[in-house]
Symmetry: C4
Subunit: 183 residues, 4 copies
């Protein structure tokens, strides 16, 4: 009942604009990933996969040098972004992901992202445990109140885009003979 | 003094991007519906019918299965959205709609939407009473603080679009010889 | 050093999308008015006159009937909008305008807009005193918390547009050889 | 691995829309400066230099007259904008810049911007010390709560643009066969 849409952006490509936080033991970037759409036979578009805020962590290997080959990802869903947006200066949150959830490999790898208030802002930590390889990687990045404010403002801006709601603005006026509202 | 506008969006269709909240006894979706416009003889456009945030509820009929054929709608007006936006973590709201208001069928059906704070977020309940059929349907969905934050952020984003104010950005600079401001 | 820009919007006209508040003794509408631009010889554009939020009041002359021929305007500047945005549930504000300020007719007419907190929201009142005609018109409209939230959300959305800052998004990427930043 | 992009805006030029605050001893303007992009061989775009909020101060030389030839700049980075956005009515902030940082001229000039709460809003002060010329320039501008609210609302709007995140909205739907998300 539909086919995928592969139109490219009008600028001829994607835009890379991550927000980086570099600290002593690790760094991370914050990057919005847009939803994908499916074209219905009617010509209308439907969100196929929601967008996410992609966090990418890398360990430090020297002064302001980071090994991005050892990066680990954590993708915040719209609802997890909602959770981040409600955090006050003394709040903490923790999110758990299993990249293989619902598959036969479920439980082999566990990722957890923790955001914990401290005196000057927050500690943002990613833990990646692999039960097969018996490895456990951990990244801890202290984030200032100002950096967290940038993350919240940018994620609040991005949230409607992750949901596909920004498409509202890309349309010409609809016919007043369309009837799609009800009470 | 005008005719209706039926231009389609530049992408050749509408976009479906509801935000779903699925819980044990029922689910609901949150979906913005844009305003409709009327073209005046001057070539200018006027809002004919304001947009709404359309809530659609469905009962659960199994684990993570919902019967959307039994769906019921509740459409939040811009002012009701304003009410939702002001709600703090301990607040409650209730809205009443009569789909046949001002017609000869007024009073036959009554819908009420209730938003009540609980320990972890809110209960959002829709009640649809039909005095003719002597039926009363009720949907109750517990919503977490994070899910409510998504709803508030997305509705805050959508509100100017429901009002038609986002059209402000779709225009080229106006002539400085136009005189439409006053003090 | 420049000439005025009179390009029309891409939709072939302006959009009328006022937000109306109708109450027992009077009504008012809230309407954004975009800035005007001046084209410089360089081809660049400069804001010539800032945008405003135009409030228009009319007296009631029957049940839900209003006499718009007797309307009076009050145009909120961007800074007055900033003042409105900071208002909490117990705050009050008052703004004074002289439409003939700096001209030989200064002082003949005085307008004041007052926003006063009450138990359920705010009273918004416009007073227009004409010293020549010895007239004094007064409009008082009670506004609920929900209606005031719509005004604040919509004015917050509109503010960057009134200032001309939304033009930021209408441009293609600038050359990285342009040098306009400094520290 | 790429070349610079020099496409001009679709309106044929840049837009000048600073927000001015004029006071007794000095004035300043607030102006967003967009990021610059680099085109990669893949056709994708990457942020080359982040945008800033450019503050420009000038001393008063008479009643409502200012000497812009003696102007001094201070460019707030996205993270410094985040700091400004978190400021409550009783907070203070101070930022230090060295325009020649990391060059052989480091330390010759020091700029500091201070934002200090007072009874009616804030004092915003720029200090520019030149160790070679043995000069020290200082600009102090009292800013009302309403003016500061305009600055915060406008900077909050501008922040995603400074980071390049507004480019999210300028694209057509991406293919659902693109795989760029992960968990």
């Amino acid at each position: 009942t539909g086919h995928d849409v592969s139109a490219k952006g009008s600028l001829g490509g994607r835009i890379f604009a991550p927000y980086y936080v570099y600290k002593g033991k690790a760094a991370f970037s914050v990057d919005p990933v847009l939803p994908t759409f499916m074209k219905l036979d009617s010509g209308d578009l439907k969100v196929k996969r929601k967008g996410v805020i992609l966090l990418t962590f890398a360990p430090a290997i020297g002064e302001r040098k980071y090994d991005w080959a050892k990066k680990q990802h954590f993708a915040l869903s719209p609802t997890e972004v909602g959770s981040l947006l409600t955090m006050g200066p003394r709040d903490s949150s923790e999110f758990f992901h299993d990249p293989a959830m619902l598959s036969s490999n479920a439980g082999q790898m566990r990722k957890s992202l923790s955001i914990k208030a401290n005196a000057d802002g927050f500690f943002i930590s990613l833990n990646v445990a692999n039960n097969i390889l018996k490895t456990n990687e951990r990244f801890v990045v202290p984030v200032t109140t100002a950096e967290f404010a940038v993350m919240k403002t940018a994620c609040s801006f991005a949230l409607p885009h992750l949901m596909g709601w920004d498409r509202l603005t890309n349309q010409l006026p609809r016919s007043s003979t369309d009837s799609s509202s009800s009470s």
